[in-house]
Each structure stands twice: as C-alpha cells, then as structure tokens.
C-alpha cells in the first residue's frame, strides 16, 4: 500500500474532551463554536461580539449578557502497536506473504491519515518487552513523521521477545483522554492484559485484534511439522490431523471468547482484523459502538 492510496475511515468519539486546539470533536472548551450552552454576564466573559441583546433587554437588573458556546476541539489519537515476536507471523493473503507487523503498519497509516483529516494530533507508541523509545512518535498535527515511521515499520522484523511492555504503555500517553487504537494479536496472558488495560482506562481504547487465518483455520490438513515460538524460542512437534486441527480451532474460538469477555468488562468492544484490513469496517465499528 503506497502512501497515496492509504484508505481512511471516519471516526467520532462519544465523550467531550477538553482540548484547546480547535478540532472536530465536541468539547467542554468555551470558544468560537456553534454549541450554545448558556448565558453569562459581560463582566465574567468579556467578549462583546457575543452580546445577546434579547437576553440583555429582558433582564430587569439591566445586566449585559453574552452567549456562551463550546468550541469543537481536537482529540489526540494514538496508535499503540505490539512489536513483540509473535507479530512477525504472517500467512498468505491473496497469494502474498504478509506479516502481522506489516498489517499493523497499514492500519497505523490509515489511522494517522484519518486523524490528520479530522485535524486531530496523531501519536505512535510501540512496545515489545519494554516500551520502545525508538518506535515512539509524539502526538503531532503533522502526520508525516508518523507515516514515515509506519513505512519503516513495514520492513521491521520484531525481535524474539514478549509483549510484556504493554504494562508500561500508559506512562507514554497524555493525561488528557485520548482515542487509542491498541493494535496487537493479544497473544499474551490474559492476567497481564487485564492489568495493563486497567491502567489505560483513562483513554478511549479501541482494541484492534490482528489474527491470521493461517494461525488456525488454514492449518494444513495432515502432516507433521515442527513449530517454534518466536517469543520464547520453545519448540514443539505437531502431528496435524483432523482431530487436532479441530482442537486448535476450538482453542482459538475459546480464546476469542475470552478476549471478548475481557474487553467488554472494560467496555472496549474489540475490532477484529483477519485477512485484509478494511477501513470501512472500522468506520462501521464507530457507528455501531460509539454514540455520536
């Protein structure tokens, strides 16, 4: 996917932010918006442009009133991307070899482009075993840096380390409530995930679950193979057969169920990406789960 044809999606948030920077999202910030919220005296809000003559005349105390409006503000959008070993897994998508990390980079680019379109600042935080300072792009209204970083990410081969850095990611996010896309395959212990999510509750999290059909559905029908865990290096021999394949698929379905339950506990409906990333599906996601 070249930079020219990055697909965008539209998103909105269901809460008011407090950002000063004008943007497109409902905000609690007073300012030059269209959203009328009440009157106050000219003394307390000395903006003569907003004098409400009708209200001023009606007041027997002969005070001068101004109208108050909320401006629309920008909301920081972050991508937190898993760079652990398991993200190096990649099956065949439409005949070409696509690793998960590449898909994550595509999604990050799409989010960056969409954030810029919505005049929101975009930031990127990558983590594997620790939060990777070299894979951080601070929130910025200019998305070029983030897109350049995502381009580099496409060719990145994750090191064979775990994704336990997710526990510290919250330190790298602003205090201000932000929209955070958490891109990972979530191949990590549920306990670890739960405690990490608890630290991220300040933000609006959209978990993007990257799974690959080759991990379970598209397993070979029959045969013997040896597999290596990219994070621990553990090796196992698998004798694939129908019975065992069914077991693996069942295990993944159970896992999907478990992750879904966990995310729903935190009120973060997960967005599944399996195969190609479809930006429109993400738009649909916001329409479905986020109240306008």
């Amino acid at each position: 996917m070249s930079i020219e044809n990055i697909k965008e999606f539209s998103y909105h948030i269901g809460w008011r932010n407090r950002g000063r920077h004008p943007g497109r999202h409902a905000s609690t910030q007073r300012g030059m918006g269209m959203e009328f919220i009440g009157h106050t005296s000219l003394i307390s809000y000395p903006d003569p442009r907003r004098i409400d003559l009708r209200q001023t005349i009606r007041d027997p105390m002969e005070q001068v009133y101004v109208r108050l409006f909320n401006q629309k503000s920008a909301t920081p959008v972050f991508v937190i991307c898993d760079l652990s070993g398991s993200m190096n897994f990649g099956g065949q998508v439409n005949g070409k070899h696509e690793r998960k990390i590449r898909k994550a980079a595509d999604i990050a680019e799409s989010i960056a482009r969409s954030a810029t379109r919505n005049s929101d600042p975009f930031g990127f935080v990558g983590f594997d075993e620790i939060v990777r300072e070299d894979w951080i792009s601070t929130a910025s209204f200019k998305s070029q840096r983030a897109i350049e970083l995502a381009e580099r990410l496409k060719e990145y081969h994750p090191e064979p380390v775990s994704g336990s850095g997710i526990a510290d990611v919250w330190r790298y996010l602003p205090r201000e409530r932000s929209l955070v896309f958490l891109i990972s395959d979530f191949h990590m212990p549920l306990k670890e995930l739960e405690s990490s999510l608890a630290n991220l509750l300040r933000h609006h999290i959209v978990p993007v679950v990257l799974w690959d059909a080759d991990e379970y559905k598209n397993l070979p029908e029959f045969g013997i193979t040896a597999v290596t865990d990219p994070e621990t290096g553990a090796k196992r021999t698998l004798f694939l057969r129908k019975e065992y394949r069914d077991k693996i698929i069942a295990s993944f379905e159970a896992r999907r169920e478990a992750i879904y339950k966990l995310f729903m506990q935190f009120d973060m409906p997960p967005f599944y990406v399996e195969g190609d990333f479809d930006a429109d599906a993400l738009t649909e996601y916001f329409h479905q789960f986020v109240a306008a």
């Binding site: 598209n218 597999v227 990219p230 021999t237």
Partner: protein, 326 residues
C-alpha cells in the same frame, strides 16, 4: 561381544547431537500456548528425536565393527589327540624294496603319506597335529579338529625329502603341541621314521619328563630296510668298543617310558598298514574336545537397522507439511 575398532566408540556422544540441536527447518508460530496440548504430537516429536539418536548410535556402532567372540563348545567323541611326527630325511625317499602289493617302487614317504591320509580320514573326532623333522623339527600343523588341514598337511609330506634324522627335536616339538591343549584323556604321538638317530642324554631326560607329565603315549613305526637290523633283536651284541646301533639304543630308551609305548616295524606298505590299523584300534577312547564356533560380525546388522530407521525418518519427512509457509 567385542569391537574390532573400539576407538570409534568414542564418537558415541555425537549421537546425542539431535537432542542438542533443534530441527533447523522449524516453522515460526505466533504463540505456542494457543496450541492445545497433544500427547500424540509430543510422542511423535520424542520418537523422531530418539530415531535420530538411534540412527547415529547404530552407524557409529556399525563403524566400530562389533562381533561376538568365538565360542568353545565342549563335545564328546571317540578319538584321540594325535600328533604325527614324520621323518623327512633323505632316506625316506627310497622305495620299499621287494614290494608285494603291486605298487612297484613306491617311496617310503609316499606310502606313509597315503596310508596316514586314510588313517586320518577314518578317524572322525580326532585332533591331529603334525611335525616333520629332518635336521630339526618343522612345525606343520597345531592340534586341530580340522580334517582338511590335517589331510593337506599329510599330503604335503609326500614331497621331496631333506637331509638327516633328528628324532629328539621331532619328539620335543611334538610334545610342545600338546602344551596348550586341554588333556582329552587320550593323547598319542605317532613317530614314523626309518632308522633312528642318537639322542643326547639331556634331550632324552627332557623327552622322558615331558611325555610323562603330559601323558603322551608313543607309537613308533620303523620303516625297516629288508634284511636290516630289527629293533626287536634282543640278542644283538655289538662289536667290541662299538656302541649299540641307534635303533636299538632308541628302542631301549623308549621302553623306559612310564607312559605306554608300542613299536612296530614295517618292511613294506602292507606291514605299515597293519601297524597303523593297530594304532587305530588302540587309540579309541571317548574324548572331550572343544569345538570352536567362530564369532559373528554384527556391523552389517547395525547398518541394516540404521538404514531401516533412516527409511522411517524419510517416511516422516514425506509426511511433513509443505503447504504451510510461515
């Protein structure tokens, strides 16, 4: 069980390499915890490793050429341990004179060899050894059960003869053959000579001691010239100041043996046959003897097993997943 090249066994630790090194073409999977435990897969993984270890073990074992040791089995038969002591002095090439059985001019050695060959072939469970002597003893054949070797040895004596007669050396060498062989209870030395030689006193004493200690009975067949001096002639009186002829002196010496002694005189092949038949009759006691069973070579077996295991491994390789590329 022993090994022809035991030093190759030092390579055996190499067989553990498959346990140390993992399979190189392992595929990367995202998270092994997602794969439910499968005892069958684990078992197959284990078996594959064991197969690899076994293959290397068997190849190394095969290279070290294991074989079982030769075995000695005790058998009981009727026969004796007989050492033939044959005279190869030049006079043995002379023919018997005045033959009566039709074979004209058969030399003494040829007749002896012919008759002894029959003798050897008629005895089933004997152990036979052979010494020939002329100037000194010649070691021909140790005591063995191998009939073919004995017959071949006897035939070889029919050739051209050598110089003189040194009986003492022949007899001591014959006793030497019995030295390492367990006593079967029936041991004999058959001395076949024409004429005799003198044996010095030391050697006489030695021969006497040895034959006594080893329980060797002695049969002496003298191939006599017709009209020659008989060893059984008790009344022979030598001339003044002359020693007794060697034949008589030797006969007297042999008679002093504590072990059985028999002497025969043969003037022609017929009498020689009679003498040998007599020995044949006398030396028929049940004997215990050890039969050697050669060891077996197991290296080919090792290679076969390794080949079969490799074939198994290749079969597994064939089962290997090729469509799944990650």
């Amino acid at each position: 069980m022993s090994f022809s090249h035991p030093w190759v066994l030092w390579l055996l630790p190499l067989a553990l390499l498959p346990l140390v090194f993992q399979r190189a073409h392992s595929k990367s999977y995202s998270w092994l915890d997602m794969l439910p435990a499968d005892p069958l897969s684990d078992l197959i993984g284990l078996i594959l490793k064991i197969l690899a270890v076994l293959i290397l073990t068997f190849i190394i074992m095969g290279l070290s050429a294991p074989h079982s040791n030769q075995q000695l089995v005790e058998r009981i038969g009727v026969g004796a341990q007989i050492t033939l002591v044959l005279d190869r002095s030049a006079s043995m090439d002379d023919p018997f004179s005045g033959t009566s059985d039709g074979i004209v001019g058969e030399s003494k050695s040829a007749a002896a060899s012919r008759l002894i060959t029959q003798f050897v072939q008629s005895r089933k469970n004997d152990m036979l050894g052979m010494i020939t002597f002329s100037n000194s003893a010649m070691y021909v054949l140790p005591l063995t059960e191998n009939k073919e070797a004995a017959v071949a040895a006897v035939r070889a004596t029919a050739g051209n003869a050598l110089f003189q007669t040194n009986i003492g050396s022949g007899l001591t060498s014959a006793a030497g053959l019995f030295d390492k062989v367990p006593d079967s209870g029936s041991r004999a030395v058959v001395l076949l000579s024409d004429g005799a030689g003198r044996i010095d006193a030391n050697t006489q004493q030695k021969i006497k001691d040895w034959y006594d200690r080893m329980h060797l009975s002695l049969y002496w067949i003298v191939l006599k010239q017709p009209g020659g001096l008989s060893i059984f002639n008790e009344n022979y009186v030598p001339q003044e100041d002359q020693p007794l002829p060697p034949e008589i002196e030797l006969h007297d010496f042999f008679k002093t043996f504590k072990t059985p002694f028999n002497a025969y005189e043969a003037e022609n092949p017929k009498t020689l046959q009679l003498a040998i038949d007599d020995i044949n009759r006398k030396e028929k006691k049940p004997i215990k003897y050890l039969e050697k069973i050669p060891g077996k070579d197991f290296s080919n077996l090792c290679f076969m097993i390794a080949a079969i295991l490799i074939a198994l491994l290749l079969g597994v390789k064939y089962l290997e997943v090729k469509t799944w590329k990650n």
